[in-house]
Structure formats: structure tokens, C-alpha cells
């Protein structure tokens, strides 16, 4: 019943929760939160090495690459060229030919530039990458990304780091209905009920960073998010009841004392 892996590009993941590595109070807390989240895919950013101060610890000291799959991302890229270049550098580190592809279109909203995203997806698929594009919650661009060879589509629930929850429930539902590749809701989750909602809508997974990293207790929040994702997934598989306008009794309607009294005479 619980054997229900997330499969992307032929690779199976036990957990449907994917977590980030940014904004944690410390690397040690991050490692504990990762453990509590149960995630077996973790996303990392690519940046220039600090050549003047080598005292900083390496992020990779705090991730067990034997146990979890490392998903490099192109966070912070504002053009297709930068994202493509960053993806190639990330692949060269040698841990993965997968990329969470981001091409940001605007600093204030951090919404994706979908035109550049589509272009970068085409190039990177051609170059042999497994491409997971972070995109707007727009069914049309999601369809085009899938046609371009994306291994999954990752529509946002709300702006990155906003914690607003799923803003466009109907679009996420439509994207799930039309997509043949996995749909990962990426960004915007604030609390476990947001993650559960994404999963109840049929999302195949949820990716989050800030909601865990900046919670007052990231480790406890990571555990809560794990449960939220699992609850939502089970509910989706179980099949929800239809919504109704009016009440519908869940106890038998015949044989109550009140029914006898209301009818005015014994039967």
C-alpha cells in the first residue's frame, strides 16, 4: 500500500518531498532537517568558489551523496545562456546530469522567464541533460516544456520563498491532468497543509526550501512537511468524495427516536 515511489526519467525516489539547502541557520541543522524530511533528492546551487577565504565548510560535507540524490539547480540565472552554462558546470562536478532549470525573469517576484526557460530546456535536453524546469503555473508552457523533452514539469505554487501556498489550484489540477511526465509543485509552500493540498490535487511531488529552512525549528518543520506530503498523496490515491452544497447524513436515517416523534404516530 505504501510502496509508491516517485519515478522521474526512470529513476525511483522513495520520498515525494524534495528539499533545498539554502537559508538554514547552520549546516548541522540543515543535515538534521534533511534527515527528518525523509527526502532522498536534495537540490543545490552552483556558485563561484571563494578563492580568498577557504575557511568555509563545503556543503557536500553535510550531504550524504550515497544516500540522497543531488539535484543541481541554476538558481540566480536570469538568461538562457547563463542557465545553460551553469548547468554544464554543475554536470562537470560529476554528481549528476540532472538539472533543476531556473531562468528567473524578475527580481521582485522571482517568476520564471518562460520564453528563455523553454529555449534553455531545448538546448539542455539536446546536450543530454535530464531537465526539470521550474515554471509558472501555466498549463500551456508546461505542455511546451514537456514537448521539448522535460523529464518533469515544476510549476510554482506561489513566488519562491513567499509561503503563500497554492495560489492557482485549478491550474495545478489542469497541469496534472494533461501531463504525461511527473508534476512537481516547486516553490510557495508555507505549511504542511499547502504541501498536502498540492499532493491532493495530484502533484507527483513537492519541492521546498524556505518553508523548512526559515521555520523557527527547521527540523520539526521538516518532519511536519514529510507527513503533509504523505497525507496528501494517500488522500489522492484514496480518492476524495465529491463536494456537495448541502448536508448528507453519515448515520442511518431510519430508526431514530426523533423520526417517530416527528411522524406523530407509531408505525
Amino acid at each position: 500500500m505504501f510502496d509508491d515511489p516517485l519515478v522521474i526519467a526512470g529513476r525511483s525516489f522513495r520520498s515525494r518531498l524534495i528539499v533545498g539547502t539554502g537559508k538554514y541557520p547552520s549546516n548541522a541543522i540543515m543535515a538534521d532537517a534533511h534527515g527528518a524530511s525523509g527526502a532522498d533528492m536534495i537540490t543545490v546551487a552552483v556558485r563561484r568558489v571563494n578563492v580568498t577565504d577557504r575557511s568555509k565548510e563545503s556543503l557536500l560535507d553535510y550531504i550524504d551523496a550515497e544516500r540522497v540524490f543531488i539535484l543541481p539547480n541554476t538558481a540566480g540565472c536570469y538568461t538562457a545562456e547563463d542557465a545553460i552554462r551553469t548547468a554544464h558546470l554543475a554536470r562537470e562536478v560529476g554528481l549528476s546530469n540532472w538539472v533543476k532549470l531556473e531562468v528567473i525573469g524578475d527580481e521582485r517576484t522571482l517568476f520564471p522567464d518562460n520564453v528563455a526557460l523553454l529555449e534553455a530546456t531545448r538546448v539542455l535536453v539536446r546536450d543530454g541533460f535530464v531537465v526539470l524546469p521550474y515554471t509558472n503555473d501555466d498549463p500551456i508552457i508546461c505542455r511546451k516544456l514537456e514537448e521539448a523533452g522535460a523529464a518533469a514539469v515544476m510549476p510554482l505554487g506561489a513566488p519562491i520563498g513567499s509561503g503563500l501556498g497554492i495560489q492557482n489550484v485549478n491550474n495545478i489540477r489542469i497541469i496534472r491532468e494533461q501531463s504525461k511526465v511527473p508534476v512537481i509543485v516547486d516553490a510557495g509552500v508555507g505549511v504542511p497543509s499547502d504541501a498536502a493540498m498540492a499532493m491532493e490535487l495530484g502533484a507527483d511531488g513537492v519541492l521546498m526550501n524556505t518553508a523548512i529552512a526559515l521555520a523557527q525549528d527547521p527540523v520539526v518543520m521538516a518532519a511536519a512537511m514529510k507527513l503533509g506530503v504523505e497525507a496528501g498523496r494517500l488522500a489522492y490515491r484514496a480518492g476524495r468524495i465529491p463536494k456537495r452544497m448541502y448536508g448528507s447524513a453519515s448515520s442511518p436515517v431510519s430508526g431514530t427516536l426523533a423520526a417517530v416523534a416527528a411522524s406523530g404516530a407509531p408505525r
Partner: protein, 72 residues
């Protein structure tokens, strides 16, 4: 001799290989990727790729991030 290292001017004693530069900077080669004049250098070529006057070298690694962080 002067090169551009990660976008900034950097002084080297003279031409040297990528491997020698990484050793000088105390950088673990297995955790980084290197670009030399905009071309990615495969790890197997670190010993044979020489950096010369005016070259541009980029050394990147993995850092914490989920998404959307602005370019610093």
C-alpha cells in the same frame, strides 16, 4: 602575470596548470568544476591545461540554495 579568476584580477607567478592552481588555492578538485576561457575543462585535463597571461578562469562549487537567489 595577471589573469581573471572568478571575475576578479588575480596575480600568478607564471603560467601554470589548472591542477597547480587548484593546489595553490587549496581547493579539492573533486568538488569543483572549472572553466578556462569559457570552455569547461574536464577533470582529466587539469594536469595538461595551462593558464597563461590574460586568461579567464572560473572555479565553481555547490552551495546551499533552493531557488531564486539573486546573483551576488
Amino acid at each position: 602575470m595577471k589573469i581573471q579568476l572568478n571575475g576578479d584580477p588575480y596575480e600568478l607567478a607564471g603560467p601554470m596548470t589548472i591542477a597547480a592552481l587548484l593546489a595553490q588555492l587549496e581547493i579539492e578538485p573533486r568538488r569543483v568544476a572549472v572553466e578556462h576561457n569559457l570552455d569547461i575543462v574536464k577533470r582529466a585535463r587539469y594536469e595538461t591545461t595551462t593558464i597563461n597571461e590574460g586568461d579567464a578562469v572560473e572555479i565553481v562549487n555547490f552551495v546551499g540554495g533552493g531557488g531564486g537567489e539573486p546573483v551576488r
